[in-house]
């Protein structure tokens, strides 16, 4: 595991204020007994109290431990130490591992072993497993038929009357779906509660979504006729995840994997990071990371870096979700992202993807030679003059980086809009 860049440290901050606080501490003054090895970075930071805070960081996981009372992970002390370490201003390798860091690493190792032991020890009780599955299916069946009745009611009374319902009406429906173990569907319904009030095209949006939900209930009822991949796509849309243990055992695909772009979001409770990679065969996969509560998200792979590792793919249609099954080794950076396509071609790809998996709402696109225009929500325009609107676009940054000149752009095509995630400027991949 090599050193981290400062950018990577900044990415790992839980919020802006932690980073601001960390920058103030990122000077040698308050630090003592710092050191690092391949896995750990440690140090003591003199705070306002008498005893200095003991900070240990496992840079491979990454995991953070600090004796301060902060409930942020990583806390400002850990961030400050990482900043110093990334700049080479402290925590040089060579020092003997501090006791507190050693103890913590040992505890973590012990816990991990115990966990593995437990899962290995767990005798597979086939009968109990089948019973659990049958129970879940029964619950989902009931939930789906309840939901399709609700859709019927929605259509009978009309969308206009649904709009006059308060948020809690939508929340109530979502809660019932969660109880029926259909959290994916529940999320969509919950967000509709605000969309019907926030969107100008709310009626069309609700109508088409209701149609999609209806199709999902129909597909679930007829799931025996679906192929394995189709069923997997449907499961993801409904919110019945495929356990990663099942995936880990499947065939592993060798790298190098080129990071195309990443997007981070947070709903307050759970942080999510999705990173798009392209493999040596040109196939695109997406890796999802989640972190809840105090955990930190996995360090992001910056767009344009090559990662040497193997991935296993979840079932489903392309682009498939994947997870890394080996340690991620840096494999250099790429001068570009590959050959992009035109806007028309990107829309054709989306069209084909919808035909294969009508539940999927997001498609990776690599567009060649597009210009950015700041009008309204922002637009990208390809060489023949076809334009697509942008969403969540950092317009100032896009304009500053491109200067209105054509660039290759990677992004997510969603609901007819492109969310730009990375650009190629002068032989370098940059994140706007």
């Amino acid at each position: 595991m090599g050193g981290w860049s400062e950018a990577r440290v900044i990415e790992s901050a839980p919020d802006e204020s932690s980073l601001v606080a960390a920058r103030k501490l990122a000077r040698p003054g308050p630090w003592s007994e710092t050191g690092s090895n391949d896995v750990l970075v440690w140090g003591k930071c003199q705070g306002s109290g008498k005893t200095p805070y003991q900070v240990s960081i496992d840079i491979s996981a990454p995991a953070y431990r600090c004796s301060c009372p902060s409930r942020k992970f990583p806390c400002k002390h850990a961030l400050a130490l990482l900043l110093l370490w990334s700049r080479g201003e402290a925590a040089a390798t060579g020092a003997e591992t501090a006791d507190f860091a050693q103890d913590w690493a040992a505890q973590r190792a012990a816990r991990a072993t115990a966990r593995e032991q437990r899962s290995a020890d767990r005798t597979v009780d086939v009968a109990a497993q089948e019973k659990r599955l049958a129970g879940r299916l029964e619950l989902m069946d009931a939930g789906v038929s309840d939901f399709s009745r609700w859709l019927g009611d929605l259509m009978r009374t009309g969308l206009a009357s649904a709009r006059s319902q308060p948020y809690r009406w939508w929340d109530g429906v979502a809660a019932r779906l969660v109880d029926a173990q259909l959290p994916g569907l529940a999320d969509q319904v919950r967000s509709m509660g605000s969309a019907v009030h926030g969107r100008a095209d709310w009626a069309d949006h609700l109508l088409l979504c209701a149609g999609r939900w209806w199709a999902m209930t129909k597909a679930w009822e007829g799931r025996d006729r679906l192929s394995a991949d189709e069923l997997a796509d449907l499961r993801v849309a409904l919110g019945w995840p495929i356990p990663s243990a099942e995936v880990e055992g499947s065939e592993a695909m060798a790298g190098p994997w080129l990071a195309l772009g990443a997007h981070r979001s947070s709903d307050g409770r759970i942080q999510q990071q999705r990173t798009w990679f392209r493999g040596p065969d040109g196939g695109i996969v997406v890796v999802l990371d989640f972190a809840a509560g105090g955990e930190g998200l996995a360090a992001p792979q910056l767009a344009g870096t090559l990662v040497d590792s193997t991935v296993a793919r979840y079932p489903g249609s392309a682009p498939r979700r994947a997870l890394f099954t080996a340690p991620l080794l840096p494999g250099g950076t790429s001068p570009g992202l590959g050959t992009g396509c035109s806007v028309a071609e990107a829309l054709r790809q989306e069209s084909a993807a919808v035909a294969v998996s009508p539940w999927r709402e997001r498609h990776p696109v690599l567009l060649a030679g597009v210009r950015i225009h700041p009008d309204g929500p922002g637009w990208l325009i390809d060489a023949v003059g076809d334009a697509l609107p942008l969403i969540e676009a950092p317009m100032d940054s896009l304009l500053a980086l491109t200067g209105g000149h054509p660039v290759d752009l990677f992004g997510e095509l969603e609901d007819g809009h492109v969310r730009p995630l990375s650009l190629v400027i002068g032989g370098t991949v940059v994140v706007p």
Partner: protein, 481 residues
């Protein structure tokens, strides 16, 4: 009506009130028999969803034309310099005013080194410059062609294409008070002519406000207009004219005031040389026209107030002439009468009369008067003021702020010494925004910056700012080397 429109109508109203449309046969759809109206509508909604998403077409771009940015000739700043700028823009380690100065310094150094702001930092820099006008003038040439292009783009989108106008041309049109002030600043003679021409058509308030704008750059040529304003109907206009004429010891009014003042002053030589001052009598019409308050109809007239108006209107030479000596002699003869000295100080202040100001400052510290001294002299007086240990008036901060930078060693040391004293917090807080900018690097050897910081928060902060500011400046120079 198209199928989709019909579908929307049915869905909005509900199948309870409006039937589901017939499925589009030309899409090859044949609906199952015997389904409920709701199911028929939902089936078609699902079809519409897939059809919409599978049949998206790109928008045209005829209305989306932008001329791309020109090429940047100079290379981007080196990585270390870029990191410094990024730090200053996103997480400034010093206060806002200091940050602005450091950003300016960055831009200047970059321009001198033939480097430019890296493109990715332009948005944050331009956003900052948008809210801090002091920065806006320093952006070129460091922001390069890309920066210019972004600025044009912002202007185009925010101002609908109205370009900047010639300020003189704008101000010359009759209009707001601000326009007039601008004109007066840019072209005093033209402003005077304009005011004279418009005089009759303006309200009293407007006349007073426009006349007031003359204060900033009063000239001898303004006198006829001011003299005429003494006869104005409105009291506020007359008062403004009096205020302005007080600035002009060579005016006709000053000569009239001198004639009123001189007979009131008599020099007595025993027991030692001093003034014997008589108060003025009942002011005649000419005196009232010159601003001397008329006697009230009832009650006692305030002769002292009338006397002070005369002092402020008359030339100061009356005093030296009568006393037969320089200002110091006059002040020595007035030692017991501090109210008269106050009036003389005010008069010397508004006239910027240096010999008088110096003499008055020898008598007592007066922050107001200090402001009129040339930089170096002012600095010496401030050093004296800081060393006295007496409570500092709030005007000191302004005076320190106005001094040419960097300060000399003596003043720098005096300020730092004072900050270390028990009441240093006030000085630290009052100068926090600019003190680091005023000190030379040599001052950094001062004990205040080398030992344990004091307990007071404001002191600690300003001393920390000084160290940080100078260390960033040093790094900045090195980063571009």
């Amino acid at each position: 009506m198209s199928w989709l429109t019909e579908l929307r109508t049915s869905a909005l109203l509900g199948t309870g009130r409006h039937p589901a449309p017939t499925p589009p046969v030309d899409l090859g759809v044949c609906p199952p028999d015997a389904v409920s109206p709701e199911a028929l509508l939902l089936d078609q909604a699902a079809l519409a969803d897939v059809a919409t998403r599978a049949a998206r077409v790109a928008g045209g771009s005829d209305h989306l034309m932008v001329r791309p940015a020109g090429a940047d000739d100079c290379p981007a700043a080196p990585p270390e310099a870029a990191r410094l700028l990024e730090l200053l823009l996103n997480q400034p380690p010093v206060g806002k005013e200091l940050r602005d100065h450091l950003v300016q310094e960055w831009l200047r150094t970059a321009a001198a080194a033939g480097r430019r702001v890296p493109h990715r930092l332009l948005p944050a820099l331009l956003a900052l410059a948008g809210s801090r006008p002091s920065l806006a003038g320093h952006l070129h040439p460091a922001i390069g062609a890309r920066g210019l292009w972004l600025q044009e783009l912002r202007r185009d989108t925010s101002l609908d294409g109205t370009g900047p106008e010639d300020p003189v041309a704008t101000a010359e049109r009759p209009g707001s008070a601000e326009d007039f002030e601008t004109l007066r600043r840019l072209d005093p003679a033209r402003a005077r002519e304009q005011l004279a021409a418009e005089w009759k058509s303006l309200t009293a308030r407007e006349r007073a406000a426009r006349l007031g704008a003359f204060a900033e750059n009063l000239q001898a040529d303004d006198e006829p207009l001011l003299e005429a304003a003494l006869d104005d109907r409105a009291k506020s206009v007359r008062e403004t004219a009096v205020e302005l004429l007080n600035h002009e010891p060579a005016s006709a009014r000053a000569a009239r005031m001198a004639a009123r003042l001189e007979p009131l002053l008599q020099v007595k030589r025993l027991p030692r040389k001093h003034f014997q001052i008589s108060l003025p009598g009942v002011p005649d019409d000419a005196a009232v026209r010159d601003g001397v308050p008329a006697d009230p109809r009832t009650g006692h007239p305030d002769r002292v107030a009338q006397f002070h108006v005369i002092i402020r209107g008359a030339p100061l030479e009356v005093w030296t002439r009568v006393a037969g000596g320089p200002p110091a002699t006059v002040l020595g003869m007035l030692r017991s009468d501090s109210r008269i000295i106050d009036s003389l100080a005010t008069t010397a202040g508004i006239r910027g009369d240096l010999p008088w100001i110096r003499a008055l400052l020898d008598l007592r510290e007066d922050a107001e008067l200090l402001g009129h001294l040339p930089g170096e002299e002012r600095e010496q007086h401030l050093v004296r003021l800081l060393k006295t240990g007496s409570t500092l008036p709030a005007t000191v901060f302004q005076l320190l702020h106005g001094l040419p930078r960097p300060w000399g060693g003596e003043l720098s040391t005096a300020v730092l010494d004072r900050i270390l004293t028990k009441d240093g917090g006030t000085l630290a807080a009052g100068t926090a925004s600019f003190l680091p900018l005023c000190l030379t690097p040599e001052t950094l050897k001062h004990r205040a910056l080398r030992h344990e910081p004091p307990d007071d928060d404001a002191c600690r902060r300003v001393l920390g700012d000084i160290t940080r500011y100078h260390s960033i400046r040093r790094s900045l120079t090195e980063a571009f080397r």
